[in-house]
Amino acid sequence: MVRQIKQTPMNWVERLYIFEAFRGLFTTLKHFLRGLFRYETLPTVPYPEIKPEIPRDYRAKHRLMLRPDGTPRCVACFMCATACPAHCIYIEAAPSVDGRIEKRAVRFDIDHLVCVFCGLCVEACPVDAIRMDTQDTSYVHRNREDFITPMYDLTAWDPKQYPQNDTQSQVAPGGSKNQQALEAWGLKVH
């Protein structure tokens, strides 16, 4: 949508500046008084103590989705690594031990120092195995190597932290729909 903004020339009152300056002063005064007397309504929050609300569709840290039996859903097709503009995904593939599945990843590392969080890997994934909906935005580590997140870290997420209508998360081990998923997969339900 193109919105045209017409610039109207300033009238003589505005050109005098002094009245406009007073208007500006009034605006800043409102903000100042809000901060002073309604401190808790400030839009900024003291960061580490109060975390900002991060929406689900924010491109945060990656996670690898899981099958009902707990194996990563990744089939090591390298689509994410191919799509990645920063070349931050390292995958090593191997034949799967599961008879129904051809290929699996034995190594899946994401270098979060290199990652640009563009989300192209999520778009590229043909099996919805990688997502960026963890709402985790702070990466603090002691050295560079720790920023390379290995597969066991990417798959270590808790289905309880994801909403009930997020079916793909809930069919993972520990999810509320795992039982149904196991039945659909023809796996034994304990």
Partner: protein, 453 residues
């Protein structure tokens, strides 16, 4: 020697010496101005501002004083940093430059009247003590002169830094200060014309007798305020620093406490100028709606009202604290126990102060009954009443000055910086002319209405 000593009563000597302490009032303004500037800027920009530094108290834990501790941290940092100079500068001038503005702010307060001349009976003698350290006939001119000297600091710093940016900054400061000195002087002329004196005491007395300067000379007030901001070198006239083009202007090469001195000088300068504006246009130490005689005659009640005002302020503060506490209790903040523990100290202090002030107020209303002796048909009270009056007047003056301090900060975080040629245009082509016209009109009106000579 003894004649000089004997010419004044001992209490007079004591007060004269004590009044030197007023030299440090502008420096104390720094303590107010830095948190006001930093957190005020934060609030104006919808931020929090610095509020993390704290000191530790047993039981109450981390006391942050809403960011006031930041002052101490800043000072500590500036003091412990290494002082260095660029290669090949004149070390003496380089070190001297930051001292100039700071020395001037220590000298300037000498002509400011902090309270009305104290007249009281001491035994059988009537003692008169003026409200300023130097009771000069040309007080206002002296103040202007001292104030314009601070430009030397910037110019010297700019020259001594051996840096193009610094030199340009220094040149801009000198040009701008000289330009706005003219406007400053001319805009106050109308006021002086009506008063007929350069003595600040007289100006305040005239305002107390007639009407505040801001009402009598509104145009002069705005011209004076704008020129004052420009002369201090504060936004929107801080072209001498102008970081987009000059890095940091005249203090580009300064660090550590040398830089700190520049800043302390600037903030103290704001303090002095605020007091000056309050004196010239807001009636100085005069209490609005009450004359000095009324206050003196009803000193007990006056103190009671003062205590009441304090209690109201503390109640407002407590209200805010309770509201924050309630919000913190429900919020997801991980540090809420720490914050609530800190707030409990403020609550405790507040609830101790309110009854104490109430008792003092009631006691003073009940037990203070001023007694006076008539001297030349005027009631003259004792030492205690004179001190009480002076206290109230100092407080009133400081409140007015604080308001102007806020105006300085408020303007800085609202208006964008002027371009350098715009600054000079505004000074020479607009404010100077308005001030001149105002002077002429005032002269004519004063002649016609007041019928002076």
């Amino acid at each position: 020697m003894m004649e000089i000593i004997n010419s004044k009563h001992w209490i007079e000597w004591l007060l004269i010496v004590a009044k030197f302490a007023f030299a440090f009032v502008p420096v104390l303004f720094i303590l107010l101005l830095i948190p006001m500037e930093r957190r005020g800027a934060g609030f104006i920009q919808d931020r929090q501002g610095p509020n993390r530094s704290y000191f530790w108290l047993p039981y109450f834990g981390r006391i942050r004083l809403f960011g006031w501790v930041q002052n101490a941290c800043d000072g500590l940092k500036l003091f412990t940093k290494e002082i260095y100079a660029p290669n090949g500068v004149n070390k003496i001038l380089f070190a001297l430059a930051p001292a100039i503005p700071f020395v001037i702010v220590l000298i300037s307060p000498c002509v400011i009247p902090w309270f009305a001349p104290m007249v009281f009976t001491m035994g059988d003698q009537v003692v008169r003590v003026s409200g300023n350290t130097v009771d000069s006939e040309v007080g206002i001119l002296l103040l202007f002169g001292l104030s314009s000297l601070s430009a030397y600091g910037a110019v010297l710093a700019g020259w001594a830094s051996k840096s193009k940016y610094s030199l340009l900054g220094g040149l801009r400061t000198s040009a701008m200060t000289i330009s706005y000195e003219v406007c400053l002087g001319l805009s106050i002329m109308g006021m002086l014309l009506m008063v007929g004196s350069f003595r600040i005491d007289d100006i305040i007395a005239w305002q107390e007798a007639h009407v505040w300067g801001i009402v009598a000379q509104p145009i002069a007030f705005f011209c004076f305020l704008i020129s004052m901001i420009a002369e201090t070198g504060r936004a929107p006239f801080d072209v001498a620093e102008g970081e987009p083009e000059l890095v940091a202007g005249f203090h580009t090469e300064y660090g550590a406490m040398q830089f700190g001195l520049f800043y302390m000088g600037e903030y103290s300068h704001i303090g002095i100028n605020s007091i000056l504006v309050a004196c010239l246009f807001l009636g100085g130490y005069s209490v609005p709606f009450f004359s000095q005689t009324t206050i003196q005659a009803n000193m007990g009640y006056s103190l009671a009202v003062l205590c009441g005002v304090f209690i109201l302020l503390i109640l407002t503060f407590l209200h805010m604290i309770y509201r924050y506490s309630r919000w913190y209790k429900t919020s997801a903040a991980t540090n809420k126990t720490v914050i609530l523990r800190e707030y409990s100290l403020y609550k405790l202090l507040g609830w101790v102060a309110i009854p104490a002030l109430a008792i003092i107020g009631v006691a003073s209303a009940l037990f203070i009954h001023p007694e006076f002796t008539l001297v030349d048909g005027k009631a003259v009270y004792g030492l205690g009443i004179a001190f009480g009056t002076a206290l109230i007047q100092i407080l009133v003056l400081l409140v007015k000055a604080c308001f102007f301090c806020f105006v300085w900060i408020w303007v800085r975080w609202t208006l964008p910086r002027f371009r350098y040629d715009h600054v000079m245009n505004l000074g020479w082509k607009v404010i100077l002319n308005i001030a001149l016209v105002n002077l002429v009109i005032t002269a004519v009106v004063a002649k016609l209405v007041l019928g002076g000579n």
